[in-house]
């Protein structure tokens, strides 16, 4: 495999890898657990295209538990969660682990008359999952759920579960990052990870280095306000400290992305977001 991350285009990851995964007839179970957050990462997953959500659910994995999508409700839903624990499964967690008041700031179910906190569900599934993916910035680093003064005492998944975790940050996560990472797990095993346990294929590019407005920076042509087509370094752009492939991948099957929309990158995929990334707009 070519080690140059830019050469590994989205076509390669999103289509070729999936074609390979098709050859596996056995589909692994997957639990997508929403914890303390906005549940925006499952919404982002639904925006996936080539493969889309129907392909993902039909051909790649068997989604046994997810609060936003599953048909079952109440105890019957949670029973599906418990039954999956005895199988081989991938655990995807979005949202931070909220630890205040023994976890009661985030209750995900009631079973046999007892509350099941997000903490408890994360622990139960986290101890038994074959792989764990912390998707979105809240799961990967605490994110906005852990923003100061962190009223819910939220922590990242890796701070809570002491084991190997693949971080797939972003606020929200890009659907290609999550599906590509899962495709890698299915076909080639654990992808190459960087020091922050992020898949290198998606997070090795510095936004500032690959930014189409980089030449404006080099020539010192800076935007003085939002809405201008120049470098937004002086408006507080966090591209120089944030690594994702947004500059080449773009968003929602368009050529657009925050910088393309004439606004600064706010470092939403970076550790320390939002507290260390503010002010988002520097006037």
């Amino acid at each position: 495999m070519n080690s140059c991350p830019i050469a590994i285009s989205k076509d390669f990851i999103a289509k070729n890898l999936i074609k390979l995964s098709l050859q596996n007839t056995h589909k692994i179970n997957l639990i997508w657990l929403e914890l303390a957050g906005c549940s925006g990462n499952i919404i982002s997953l639904l925006n996936a295209d080539n493969p889309d959500i129907n392909y993902f659910l039909t051909n790649m994995i068997s989604l046994k538990y997810n609060n936003s999508l599953m048909a079952a409700e109440g105890e019957k839903a949670y029973r599906q969660f418990l039954e999956t624990l005895d199988t081989e499964f991938i655990l995807v967690i979005e949202g931070a682990v909220s630890t205040k008041a023994q976890g009661l700031y985030d209750v995900v179910a009631k079973y046999n008359g007892q509350y099941v906190t997000g903490m408890e569900a994360a622990k139960l599934a986290g101890e038994r999952a074959k792989h764990i993916l912390a998707v979105g910035t809240c799961a990967a680093y605490g994110g906005i759920s852990a923003a100061a003064p962190n009223p819910s005492e939220s922590v990242s998944v890796s701070a809570f579960l002491k084991r190997d975790i693949i971080n797939v940050p972003g606020c929200p996560v890009h659907p290609d990052w999550i599906i590509g990472t899962i495709a890698h797990l299915l076909v080639f095993g654990v992808p190459e990870l960087d020091q922050k346990n992020r898949p290198v294929i998606f997070y090795s590019i510095n936004i500032h280095d690959a930014c189409p407005r980089r030449s404006f920076f080099d020539q010192r042509v800076f935007a003085e306000k939002l809405g201008e087509p120049f470098c937004m370094f002086k408006l507080g752009c966090r591209g120089p400290v944030t690594n994702t492939d947004c500059p080449i991948r773009r968003w929602n099957d368009t050529d657009n992305w925050p910088i393309g929309d004439n606004t600064p990158c706010i470092g939403c995929a970076r550790e320390g977001f939002p507290d260390l990334m503010e002010p988002f707009i520097r006037y």
Binding site: S62, D106, T263, E278, F280, I281
Partner: protein, 455 residues
């Protein structure tokens, strides 16, 4: 007498518990409890005011555009900024994209599994389903549409991103309007997507909702609740009739009257919070502290009231107050109104596009005053959303958020009045207490977003 607890209510955004007491197959008591709390109002204290736009949209992954707009309106009020008409039309178009995305997903992905036997795909396989009434051929057709619909909700977000950078959590809605420069390339792209979504809704979705209505006529008779409806207004700033939807208003005791935002309060008697005052106006600078162990409290959702009375908000409230849909107030009417609203909003979006000019965004460099107050009230996918901001020393001193689902999912208040969803459940018939499917169907007709409601 039996107690039934459904937790989680799945196929909503966030975590919700519904507890009902049933006697002789009738619900005689109902409680709705929001189960997630993060504390956004506390987090916002001391932050740079302009950051509220991108910060507050992260309250919610499903309706983030709504929050970016309410925050922007509050800041525009505080900074005394008026966006130009062109930028406002683009912004209103972007907001419309969220309605299309939310409503299509809500009908197909969140509502339909209550009424049809889903496709043989996890997590849609539900071995416990009961009371599924569609004949196999009709059921199969709706299953097919369930799968097809994901394309159109995705396309709605594609339009949103084309103009506002990305979705969820857009960048393009900002103080002064938008940041995008509309050009012919973007214009024709969103125009063509919008046309394809509207075709799908008119040709497929509309028939689908009436198919459900035909097989479940009893759902026109339950889930009515108080019948008090409220809207902050939506698409009401344009003079042209074609681009107009609904003015702010309330419907109570059979009459529509004008809306006065000063009548809004929030009551915390049965919510997990402590404060010096149990009832507060959004502009009151009261320190509200979370207390998960507070006695008798049962939800993270506070209880908004209008003139001390609970009100339902959402698509049915808007369609009713605007006079477009007055068939009834019930579980099924809510669901039908939501689908009809997709058409109304898509047609307004077409009108906005006709009027949009290819001009620069008109952004300016804004300076934050030492002191200022602002408010942003607007109807969003699930109903009226309000943001109130108080700026001191160029920082956020106080921020208050009341979301649509706070109105709908509110717990009881000091007067022991039930919240609108609780009231909608009250008296409903539960045919089989082992499989109380009615609860989820009634609750989902409100399209709850608990991430928002508790924030």
């Amino acid at each position: 007498m039996a107690k039934i607890t459904v937790n989680p209510i799945t196929r909503i955004s966030g975590f919700l518990e519904i507890e009902v007491t049933v006697e002789n197959n009738r619900i005689i008591d109902a409680k709705s409890s929001g189960m997630l709390f993060r504390g956004f109002e506390k987090m916002l204290k001391g932050r740079p005011p302009l950051d509220a736009v991108y910060f507050t949209e992260r309250i919610c992954g499903i309706c983030s555009t709504a929050h970016s707009l309410a925050a922007t309106l509050a800041l525009e009020y505080a900074l005394d900024i008026e966006p130009n008409e062109n930028a406002r039309m683009i912004r209103d178009f972007v907001h419309g994209c969220e309605f299309l995305q939310n409503h299509i997903r809500h009908f197909y992905q969140y509502t339909l599994p209550d009424y049809i036997k889903g496709p043989n795909i996890h997590p849609l396989i539900n071995n416990y389903s009961v009371d599924l009434r569609l004949p196999p051929d009709r059921n199969d057709k709706l299953v097919q549409h369930y799968l097809e619909s994901t394309k159109y909700s995705r396309l709605a977000h594609e339009m949103l991103a084309e103009l506002a950078g990305k979705a969820p959590h857009n960048h393009g809605i900002f103080i002064g309007g938008v940041t995008v420069k509309m050009d012919a390339d973007k214009w024709i792209k969103v125009r063509s997507i919008l046309d394809s979504i509207l075709s799908f809704v008119k040709d497929v979705m509309l028939e689908d909702v009436y198919t459900i209505a035909r097989y479940y006529p009893d759902y026109f008779l339950n889930g009515s609740g108080y019948g008090n409806l409220l809207s902050y207004g939506l698409y009401n700033t344009y003079k042209d009739r074609e681009a107009f939807y609904v003015n702010p208003g309330i419907f109570k005791n059979g009459t529509i009257s004008s809306f006065d935002e000063n009548m809004i309060t929030e009551n915390i008697k049965y919510a997990w919070y402590e404060a010096d005052q149990i009832e507060n106006k959004p502009t009151d600078e009261v320190e509200i502290e979370a207390d998960r162990y507070k006695e008798k409290a049962y939800s993270w959702v506070k209880a908004p009231r209008y003139n001390d009375v609970p009100f339902e908000v959402g698509p049915l409230a808007r369609m009713w107050i605007s006079g477009i849909y007055n068939n009834g107030i019930s579980t099924m009417d809510r669901t039908i109104a939501r689908v009809l609203e997709v058409i109304k909003i898509a047609e307004i979006m077409q009108e906005l596009l006709k009027r949009v000019e290819l001009k620069p965004s008109g952004q300016r460099k804004y300076s934050v005053p030492d002191q200022a107050e602002g408010k942003g009230l607007i109807d969003t996918t699930r109903g009226g959303l309000g943001h109130w901001i108080d700026i001191k020393n160029q920082k956020i001193n106080h921020y208050e958020i009341i979301t649509p689902t706070s109105w709908n999912l509110s717990p009881r208040d000091t007067k022991l009045q039930r919240g609108p969803v609780e009231e909608a459940l009250f008296c409903a018939e539960i045919k089989d207490i082992e499989n109380p499917v009615e609860i989820g169907r009634i609750v989902r007709s409100f399209d709850p977003c608990v991430s928002c409601a508790t924030h």
